[in-house]
């Protein structure tokens, strides 16, 4: 399941269509797609975690709290824009952009 989500994510179109049902039509294009795309203080909900070729890292991200349905708030970026700090499951965790972009999310209205 995780690998399928990743393929959809890379070629863009099918992934966007698959998530259409979750959001109003007009937002599909500009909506955030991974944690790395969030701006500070934006909140999103995890859809899936997909790390190509490394299921252990995907499971680790889930262990850190990035499970489908979890609400994540981006808190801040480091001075050189990487790494990034998120609030998830009541605690703060710092991820590199590389890992954050493995977590697919949908925006949540505040």
């Amino acid at each position: 399941m995780t690998s399928r989500t990743f393929e959809q994510g890379t070629d863009g179109r099918p992934g966007a269509e698959a998530r259409h049902g979750d959001r109003p039509r007009g937002e599909a294009r500009c909506g955030e797609r991974t944690l790395a795309d969030l701006t500070p203080s934006a909140t999103a909900q995890v859809v899936s975690v997909s790390v190509p070729g490394s299921p252990a890292v995907a499971r680790r991200l889930a262990d850190l709290g990035f499970t489908p349905g979890a609400k994540v708030r981006m808190l801040r970026r480091a001075p050189l824009r990487d790494p990034l700090i998120y609030l998830v499951k009541d605690y703060e965790i710092c991820l590199r952009r590389a890992q954050a972009s493995c977590v697919n999310v949908v925006a949540v209205d505040r």
Binding site: V57, R60, T67, P79, L80, K89, D90, Y91, E92, C94
Partner: protein
């Protein structure tokens, strides 16, 4: 099996009969303070067989019963993504070592929503388990709540709330340990599927009346400044300068004190031991060797004091966050920064500080890079050599040229350290997947004095216990090489040496010592660098510790003041070979020497510490080999390039 087995810090024979209790938990859950509270100062550190992962084991006494307690590597889950986590899983499975009889799962109450997922994975292993809930005081302060009894019912295992630094709950935890055979196990094991696990966690939390802690106000306000893109960077550099300054300025007088004490001691020996040879062996080799080890102690203790203070407050995670991108260029992560920075003072505490890195590959890469950072022991060598190379009045723009050369050498050290780390990370272990980087940002807390002191004590005692023997032994051997064979007064007089002049005597002894023979023997190796056999002796004696180079050169050059050998060195000429009569210390030779000292691993203590931290001789040998070869090649390059410029 592995050569390191017998030294892996495994408990003594009677301890293996004891019930084995292992602590598991996330890296910030307070595992170490629970471990320290249970075992006190009885903890032993070592390595797991064959891997560079430190092992912490100790005993806990409850009444008349004893338990073997082991602090397993911290992890967020049981699907290993690093060598350390593989060790954790192997330890739980009893793979290559005895499996624990019972587990203490240490959980930070303020991160319960995440941590219960880990608890579920551990409980699924079916070992008798007890959950140790830490930071409950903080949960309450931040308007959170949890009912410990209800949590115990919902999980189906005992739960004990412990406030480590206050000692609350420890008596109850010890009582629980007595009953480990009767600990209840969950009637229905928690789900292993991640999707179902979330639902299980939520049901447990709601049964236990869990209310999450409010965001920590102080932390929010402090982070707004300390992690601010501009302000945060400024504060970071200020903290690091302060850190570095404290280590240098506070350690220097303490080190001076240690040196003075051993100076007095060896002076006392030379007065009271009449046999000159025995007095030299005791005074110079033994006492000098012990002093040479102890002189590092103030720096190590100060560095660990500051590191554990910064760690305890929570600033270390912030520093790692700020520096991660820069360190990422070398394939390392933010946490490696502190270890490399410490190595500017001395590579030994720097290498010991790699313990804070969660991945074994990062630890190795950092250890291989740390000796390249310009440590304090290189400073006296650089001062003498730069004094010979550069006219003190020469300037380049507004800067003195001597200072610029010194700065250049520091820069050379830092840049090559980063390159070395990058190379070791890239080519060191191609099998392993790169470890993903994640780092919990704990709220700012007041560090527990006990934890800080234990960290300092642990660092100091492990350095002394494990490293003193090897350093003292090497110093003795070197001293013997430099002073054997023996020369009687008659022999000295026959050789035309003024026996009243101790400098002349020691110069003659060194000239005719086994070390000198070795110096001539290795001459073909160092000839291309322009070193004559006397420099070779200096370089060889500096192999135990760099700063001895200055004194040895002083002795060899028969300088009147061995600590200021500048003039005598300038006058030195090649004594034999095709270059006989020409001055030795020309710009190309000095450049080659400077570069050689910048790269070569000339420090027995560092070799000993790498052996100690990795648990194998492989890495100290790799470090020694690659640094010596690099040193020679680059010194040759420096000599050639300088010769072109000087003409």
């Amino acid at each position: 099996m592995s050569s390191s087995c017998h030294e892996s810090g495994q408990p003594a024979a009677p301890m293996t009969q004891l019930p084995q209790v292992a602590l598991v938990g996330a890296p910030n859950a307070g595992k170490t303070s629970v471990f320290n509270a249970l075992t006190g100062l009885n903890a032993k550190t070592g390595n797991y067989p064959g891997v560079t992962v430190s092992r912490f084991a100790g005993t806990c006494r409850v009444g008349d019963r004893r338990f073997a307690v082991e602090d397993l590597p911290g992890s967020y889950g049981l699907d290993p993504v690093s060598l350390d986590e593989q060790v954790l899983v192997d330890a739980l499975d009893g793979n290559g070592m005895r499996a624990p009889d019972a587990l203490l799962i240490v959980v930070d109450a303020t991160t319960l929503r995440r941590s219960l997922g880990f608890v579920a994975q551990v409980l699924a292993r079916g070992l008798p388990s007890c959950v140790v809930l830490t930071f409950t005081d903080e949960l309450l302060r931040r308007q959170g709540a949890v009912n410990v009894d209800a949590l115990s019912q919902a999980l189906g295992v005992p739960v004990v709330a412990v406030v480590g630094h206050r000692g609350h709950g420890l008596a109850e935890l010890r009582e629980q340990l007595l009953d480990w055979r009767d600990w209840p196990t969950p009637v229905i094991p928690p789900p292993v599927d991640p999707g179902e696990r979330d639902a299980w966690v939520e049901s447990v939390l709601s049964y236990a009346g869990y209310r999450a802690a409010q965001p920590h106000g102080h932390t929010r306000r402090l982070d707004a400044v300390l992690l601010h893109p501009i302000l945060g960077t400024v504060v970071f550099f200020a903290v690091m300068v302060l850190f570095f300054q404290t280590v240098f300025t506070l350690a220097a007088p303490l080190q001076g004190g240690v040196e003075a004490f051993f100076g007095v001691l060896s002076g006392w020996v030379s007065v009271h031991v009449t046999n000159p040879w025995l007095s030299g062996l005791l005074g110079d080799a033994l006492i000098g060797g012990v002093g040479g080890v102890l002189v590092f102690l103030p720096q190590i203790m100060l560095l660990f004091l500051l590191i554990s203070l910064l760690e305890g407050v929570g600033y270390m995670s912030r520093a790692a966050f700020l520096m991660d991108r820069v360190m990422g260029r070398a394939g390392l992560e933010g946490r490696a920064f502190v270890a490399l920075l410490s190595s500017f003072a001395c590579a030994i505490p720097g290498i010991m500080a790699t313990r804070t890195l969660p991945s074994a590959r990062d630890r190795i890469a950092t250890m291989m890079a740390a000796p390249l950072m310009t440590c304090a022991a290189r400073l006296p060598v650089y001062v003498v050599l730069i004094g010979l190379l550069v006219d003190p009045t020469a300037t380049f723009g507004p800067f003195g040229l001597q200072g610029l050369v010194m700065f250049g050498l520091y820069l050379l050290g830092a840049v090559s350290a980063m390159l070395a780390a990058w190379a070791f990370k890239k080519f060191g272990d191609r099998r392993g997947q790169p470890t993903p980087f994640y780092l919990e940002m704990p709220p700012y807390r007041l560090p527990a004095p006990r934890a800080v002191l234990l960290a300092v004590w642990g660092a100091a005692s492990s350095f002394l216990r494990k490293c003193s023997t090897i350093i003292v032994a090497t110093t003795m051997v070197l001293w013997l090489l430099l002073n054997l064979p023996l020369h009687s007064t008659e022999q000295l007089q026959a050789a035309g040496v003024d026996t009243a002049d101790s400098a002349a005597v020691s110069a003659h002894v060194v000239d005719h010592s086994y070390a000198a023979e070795v110096g001539r023997l290795v001459a073909p190796v160092f000839d291309p660098l322009g070193f004559d056999w006397r420099i070779n002796v200096g370089v060889l004696s500096a192999q135990s510790a760099r700063e001895t180079f200055v004194a040895t050169l002083g002795q060899v050059a028969a300088a009147e003041d061995p600590e200021e050998p500048g003039d005598a060195l300038r006058a030195m000429t090649y004594s034999d070979g095709p270059r006989a009569g020409q001055p030795i210390f020309t710009a190309p030779t000095i450049a080659a020497l400077l570069v050689y000292f910048a790269f070569a691993l000339q420090c027995v203590a560092t070799v000993g510490v790498i052996r100690r931290e990795t648990g194998t001789w492989r890495w100290p040998l790799v470090a020694f080999g690659y640094l010596t070869v690099t040193a020679w090649l680059l010194a040759y390059l420096a000599r050639t390039v300088t010769a072109v410029f000087v003409g």
